[in-house]
């Protein structure tokens, strides 16, 4: 996918774009003055007043059947995906798409501001879907400030029909990023553990889906218990733990080929794997005669290097986005607490000092926060703390919330919530305000989510 610099004539843009790549570049605003405009959404302050926004169905310049359905139907579906993404962020209040007037193709670049100004919407997203001669689709996406009657952003995406949903997510990302000033996150995926069966013998399968639950598929067949998958920065490789032959070990899974390989060949349990931000290393934990420490190993395998050697349990390591530091949990002080160290294991220091226990630290991709599970007071809660140790904030309240993972923009956290008694778990997300909490739909129960980086 490429960004079109000139979308009024989609056919012309095709000459510039080529067809196969699926890569995005940010485009400078069409009107630099609009960058200074007053239309903004406050991400951090809360969602007391989500922005009203209109996203009418996207017209097509010419009705055509494609491998993903006809262009009229796609225009409706794409508008609905953009609507759902923006609504789910908690920051927008999209109007009912089916109740909006029909937008003609020429109106896409010349909105009827007279109408929209009286609609209650502050922002307007319009677009079009066009089938190209070579089998690809072009999706155009335009954002307008309704009151100022100005264009705020425009992007175009050329996609294979099978990837049409990604064009919708890219459009929603463009709107979200322009209006919030935050990074995009809708065009991303989740790998997690799909669960079913009785509490004492849960069947656990790796599964992958788009951030919004679409394109769900299972990666493993449930023969072995699998736990704690994590994406590599390239999004094509997943590292996880599996009980193959009843021996809990870290494995690497290649999404392209479906091949799986043992990462570290040692006669001990290896677990809690995470990639380094450059993808060259895998940080993991290994239990040797009951003592668990952090190690790292080349992503291609080889001899592990030991990073901690305290008596006790050191686990749950996570790299800072620059790869220079690692946050982990340790019970060396008597109970699970968070520690930060340099990537070579030097300079270990404790950063959490509250009551109860702190576990499963995950460094935000923005670098400004560390998400964790806090245990105490009869509950397991998700919270964030600064890497220096201050500014702790608890975001959720439940019997057992556990295992946070960050959206690519570092503003939303996904985790899993286990029910008291039944032990059934499902996936939830919460934003940094702690207000916008929502369940992520999955075909079966779900745990151990890991959010991918933004797709290219």
């Amino acid at each position: 996918m490429r960004v079109s610099t000139y979308l009024k004539t989609a056919a012309a843009s095709l000459l510039l774009l080529g067809t196969s790549a699926f890569a995005q570049e940010t485009q400078p605003p069409a009107d630099p003055a609009a960058e200074q405009g007053g239309l903004e959404v406050d991400v951090v302050g809360g969602i007391s007043a989500p922005m009203p926004i209109a996203i009418p169905h996207m017209p097509t310049p010419a009705f055509a059947n494609t491998a993903a359905g006809n262009t009229e139907m796609l225009g409706r579906q794409i508008a609905e995906i953009v609507t759902a993404d923006l609504r789910n962020s908690g920051l927008f209040r999209p109007m009912d798409t089916s109740a909006l007037p029909r937008v003609s193709y020429p109106q896409v670049t010349a909105p009827d501001f007279g109408f929209w100004g009286g609609s209650g919407a502050q922002a307007l997203v319009q677009g079009f879907v066009q089938a190209n001669g070579n089998g690809t689709l072009t999706v155009g996406c335009y954002l307008y400030d309704v009151l100022a009657q100005t264009e705020l952003a425009r992007q175009g995406f050329v996609v294979q029909p099978a990837q049409w949903r990604r064009a919708a997510h890219k459009c929603a990302d463009a709107v979200y990023a322009r209006l919030t000033g935050e990074g995009p996150y809708f065009d991303s995926r989740i790998v997690y553990v799909s669960e079913t069966g009785p509490k004492n013998r849960r069947t656990k399968r790796l599964a992958i889906m788009d951030q919004d639950g679409a394109n769900h598929r299972f990666l493993t067949n449930g023969q072995n218990v699998v736990l704690t998958p994590r994406f590599a920065p390239n999004q094509q490789t997943i590292v996880y733990m599996s009980y193959v032959n009843d021996q809990p070990r870290v494995y690497v899974y290649e999404l392209g080929s479906g091949q799986q390989r043992l990462l570290v060949n040692q006669p001990y349990m290896t677990f809690a794997p995470r990639f380094s931000p450059d993808g060259r290393w895998v940080l993991f934990s290994m239990s040797v005669n009951g003592n668990t420490d952090l190690y790292r190993v080349s992503a291609s395998g080889g001899a592990p290097q030991r990073l901690t050697n305290a008596p006790g349990i050191d686990t749950g390591g996570s790299y800072s986005p620059d790869g220079q530091q690692i946050v982990f949990e340790s019970d060396r002080g008597g109970s699970q607490q968070l520690y930060v160290m340099n990537a070579d294991g030097s300079g270990q220091r404790r950063i959490s000092f509250g009551g109860g226990q702190y576990a499963t630290p995950v460094w935000s991709p923005r670098g400004d926060n560390i998400a964790f599970t806090r245990i105490g007071g009869g509950g397991f809660r998700i919270g964030v703390i600064s890497p220096a140790g201050g500014g702790e904030k608890i975001l959720t309240e439940a019997w057992q919330d556990e295992g946070p993972t960050w959206a690519p923009n570092g503003r939303v956290i996904m985790f899993f919530r286990t029910a008291q008694g039944s032990g059934k778990a499902d996936l939830w997300s919460v934003d940094l305000t702690g207000v916008n909490e929502r369940r992520i739909p999955t075909p079966l129960d779900g745990s151990d989510p890991a959010w991918s980086p933004l797709l290219p």
Binding site: N200, R202, V244, N245, F271, T315, G316, E329
Partner: protein
């Protein structure tokens, strides 16, 4: 036709299909790494196992379960220390293991549900090793004692209360069938 022969028949059919095809049919799911025999996670400790025609085979799981007061020891919350009762349980297991020197066992460490997943894996490993170290200190060769942690993945008591959790914080000595 019993279950075993059904399996064989299915396997034979699968082989025949494979042999008949020039190309391998793509599977919905990729194959997992190769699999050897699986233990039962310490849950299916079926007393009838190893019991053929009413006679218990010496050295079998059934023999072990009949001979020792318990196949498992229990732990306090977030603890892996053994108390006097645990040591007595393990001493009885030592006696049986000494009578059956050819038997290799797996010690499974487990945790209750009220811990985070990865920490509980480490805690289960601690508990399994606590039992292993004790058996070893009483003269059982380490080479006969395999350990595996299941963390909180395989509870035996299903409630969310202290009574259930106390049963789940355990190390189980599993003798092969």
């Amino acid at each position: 036709m019993n279950r075993q022969s059904l399996k064989i028949a299915a396997l034979a059919a699968a082989l025949a299909l494979t042999a008949g095809c020039g190309k391998k049919t793509p599977e919905t799911l990729p194959p997992e790494p190769p699999q050897q025999g699986q233990t039962d996670g310490g849950l299916g400790t079926d007393p009838g196992a190893g019991n053929v025609g009413g006679a218990v085979i010496p050295g079998s799981r059934a023999d072990f379960l009949r001979s020792v007061p318990s196949d498992r020891v229990f732990f306090s919350t977030d603890s892996y220390s053994l108390d006097a009762e645990d040591r007595a349980t393990l001493d009885a297991q030592v006696a049986w293991l000494q009578r059956n020197p050819g038997v290799l066992v797996t010690i499974e460490g487990h945790a209750d549900e009220r811990g985070t997943r990865e920490y509980n894996l480490a805690l289960g490993d601690r508990r399994a090793n606590a039992a292993k170290n004790y058996l070893q200190s009483r003269g059982i060769a380490a080479s006969r004692l395999n350990v595996v942690s299941w963390g909180k993945e395989r509870p035996v008591a299903l409630g969310s209360d202290e009574g259930a959790w106390a049963q789940n914080r355990r190390a189980v000595t599993v003798v092969p069938q």
